[in-house]
Symmetry: C2
Subunit: 487 residues, 2 copies
């Protein structure tokens, strides 16, 4: 029963393969909640792997909240989290392009980040303690000594060649075969998306975009004089292709681009299936609407494999794939990239005219880190932590928030989407929480017209006693609102 | 006669003051071409300064091509360069906004920069050998060790505080009293100008701009769907205020911004007088047209003083002053800034939405370099070299180019504008020069509609035997064109 088979990626470390096997048995119901799993010694014998490998595998499964250790007894399949609230049901808004109204709340949420007295759960920044700070800085110092002239000089678009080679190589894992010449280095993923919008759209055009969605994109769409066409998304599978198709037909000719966060979408944490990615590419291709694919969280999958991207199914150059190293390596290095398909030359020109080039020293450092810094090993370790912490925060929300609250169960990344009962006003909650020293992101800034008023997004990148207290506080504040409104 | 007086900046080193005094006497005609100046020993006694100070002063004046040493005889006032061609006369184009037409030549000129087999005289990059590479990199390595967390984290707009403090402090030299909160760090000067245009204009609006002008700005105006209103400029005093006033009146309401390179304009090298800067600010204020002032070459004055900026006369917050350290310290660090007056908040928002933040490590390094790197000392030494080289290249052009060629005599920066006889086609010259391994910038890309067809811009940042050969080649190619056309 427990022999290894070929379904797991051969590049994975052995303990991940062992863990994958056990996960598979739990998923299929062969091992059920409450069942005791084989002892470490037995499994080691059965699978012909070392004791340590099994220990590591079980510890990984504990992190993923699939197993629990019972003292003096062994490992058991965890009860499927009966205390965890169900997933949020996402509204299905009107399928008409809407002008984005400027949100003062957005400004305030961004300003919160400057306030060092606040516990920051509002902005989706990675946990600094999980970044490879020392190694990266050491590499930066070394690379500028190795390439002193290059480090002070312009690296004009498309940008540093070695870095582009590394990115192209890693793209194989996402299912893309691209040459370094098909990649442009950008100042983070945001610049890649903005360059795409500027290339594809002119004022008055409409952009199809998931809802709820990362608020910066909505502000950006407003600033460019574009209209947002919100397409419903589910917390599991992402954008609704049926709704998108319907919307494209109703607004034929008006929609000039579609932005999709295909993997571990912010804020829902959803992940599109390979099949849906392929359908998405075909659908947009058929309507001659370019796809701006944001894969910034793609490397932060909680499961063994790096998911594919929609770009992998792109046969016509219609997909502009954007990402960066801001969530995994160093937000402050501002190193992102875009594989812009048939828009490559226009994106290079846009980058040149907008800011000439990206800073050279960070490009040198990230290229070296990707080549020799153990990026994969780093990813494995932080993905584990983020998976555990997202589950811990989800559990804590289940305990602390009013009955009827639902929370997303992301499959990657580090943000949670929380839907509270209708009576809770998240803007009010946001203000109250700040007076208690906690910064959160209220749901309404994730839509064009103040939808998701009873939702919030929380950053689960750090789990610490202070965060647990903050979750308790948020739960109490939400409950107070409900009580006072029902009085 | 030679006692020191108060007209020179007290902060200058003594030898610069002595040199200034002699320059003054030459300028006023007290010392005339061919006159012998006092011997080193005599001047040292007269001015009560050391022998070395006088030696340094005379050597500076030699660099500036005001004095020449005659062996066994002493120093003489140089003949006022009879061989140097007069300055170019700049066309006075139509005063009507024009759509910028995309220039394929522009694309080609930018691509040349990637070609390492070409001698690069086409792009206005500083001489790498004159950048403080080692010191800067050492400081970068040290700062990321000192502030490891800050270096990997976002430094959201307005950007690094210490850097903004340093910039604000230096702005005192340009006549501006600004607080760090009135400055936003940008990815170079170009991003500062683009952010300004995006904030101030919407498609269809007109932008008043000098002609000829830095070609990237014209391409940018085209990309933003704006119209360029070209205002004649002279190689000495810069933009014609009379023409600007006339144009503003004729196009009232249509012009939404005015871009001026007030000091050592690219490509003419012109510098506006303090009086004209003040008039410019008042004129634009009166017409409620914001001024985007580009001062990127301001620190590269060939004379003793750092010139003022128009922003110094801004009483209403109508001036957006843009600059960077790309010409003086490190183009590849991409550190620029903007003091955006009453548009501060909008520029911060634009920066945030366009690329979130600038890379943190370069900001840390430039802040430290400005605080402790000897920036002023560095500037004094490179300004001398650039002054000498611009004169050397100007002389060489006078010798090598066909009769009737005129060349600019810049007062700062490191580019020369060369106007050849009407029969020379600079696009043809550009193509021919490339086949001889030399990259230049043809004049027509400095205007909207292919004016300046008989002009070229040359980068005088380096002077070496290969450059001298290149100038010879260019001269011969230009002469060939004239001969073949007169045949």
């Amino acid at each position: 029963m427990l022999e290894m088979n070929g379904q797991f990626d051969e590049r994975l470390p052995l303990y991940e393969k062992v863990a994958g096997k056990i996960s598979f048995l739990i998923e299929k119901g062969t091992l059920r909640p409450g069942d005791k799993v084989p002892s470490i010694r037995n499994l080691s014998k059965q699978m012909q792997v070392s004791i340590n490998t099994v220990k590591e595998a079980y510890s990984l499964l504990e992190d993923r909240r699939l197993l629990e250790a019972r003292p003096q007894s062994g490992y058991y399949v965890r009860a499927r989290l009966p205390e965890l609230p169900a997933e949020p049901v996402v509204d299905r808004p009107d399928i008409n392009p809407a002008e984005v109204s400027l949100s003062k709340v957005y400004q305030e949420v961004m300003m919160d980040f400057h306030d060092q007295n606040l516990l920051q759960l509002g902005i989706a920044v990675p946990n600094i303690d999980l970044l490879p700070v020392e190694k990266l800085h050491r590499m930066l110092a070394r690379e500028i000594r190795r390439f002193p002239t290059q480090a002070v000089s312009y690296d004009l678009p498309p940008g540093n060649l070695r870095l582009r080679k590394q990115v192209a190589q890693r793209l194989l894992l996402s299912g893309c075969t691209l040459s370094p010449d098909q990649i442009v280095i950008t100042s983070g993923c945001v610049e890649a998306v903005v360059l795409s919008l500027r290339t594809l759209c002119k004022p008055g055009d409409a952009v199809a975009i998931e809802t709820p969605v990362y608020f910066n994109f909505l502000q950006m769409i407003e600033d460019l004089g574009l209209k947002a066409l919100e397409i419903p998304a589910s917390p599991r599978g992402g954008i609704s292709l049926e709704a998108l198709e319907y919307a494209l037909e109703r607004n034929a000719g008006e929609v000039k681009a579609c932005i999709v966060l295909s993997n571990f979408n912010n804020p829902l944490g959803s992940k599109m299936s390979d099949e849906d990615k392929q359908r998405l590419v075909q659908l947009l291709d058929g309507h001659q609407v370019p796809l701006i694919e944001d894969d910034i969280y793609g490397d932060l999958s909680y499961s063994d494999d790096r998911p594919s991207v929609a770009k992998a199914y792109d046969k016509t150059g219609n997909v502009l794939l954007c990402s960066s190293f801001s969530k995994t390596v160093a937000p402050g290095y501002r190193v992102g990239w875009i594989a812009a398909g048939r828009y490559q030359k226009q994106i290079e020109r846009g980058k040149m005219l907008g800011s000439v080039a990206c800073a050279s020293p960070p490009q040198l450092a990230i290229a070296e880190f990707l080549a020799n810094g153990g990026y994969d090993h780093h990813l494995r370790s932080i993905r584990r932590v983020y998976a555990r912490q997202a589950a811990q925060m989800g559990d804590a929300i289940g305990r602390a928030f009013p009955e009827g609250t639902r929370v997303s169960r992301p499959q990657g990344g580090f943000v949670l989407w929380v839907e509270m009962p209708e009576g809770v006003d998240s803007i009010l909650l946001y203000k109250k929480a700040k007076s208690h020293g906690v910064a959160i992101a209220p749901g309404s800034i994730f839509s064009v017209d103040g939808k998701y008023r009873n939702c919030i997004r929380l950053n689960a990148a750090s789990w610490a006693p202070a965060v647990e207290v903050a979750i308790d506080t948020l739960g109490k504040l939400a409950a107070e609102q409900l009580n006072s409104s029902s009085r």
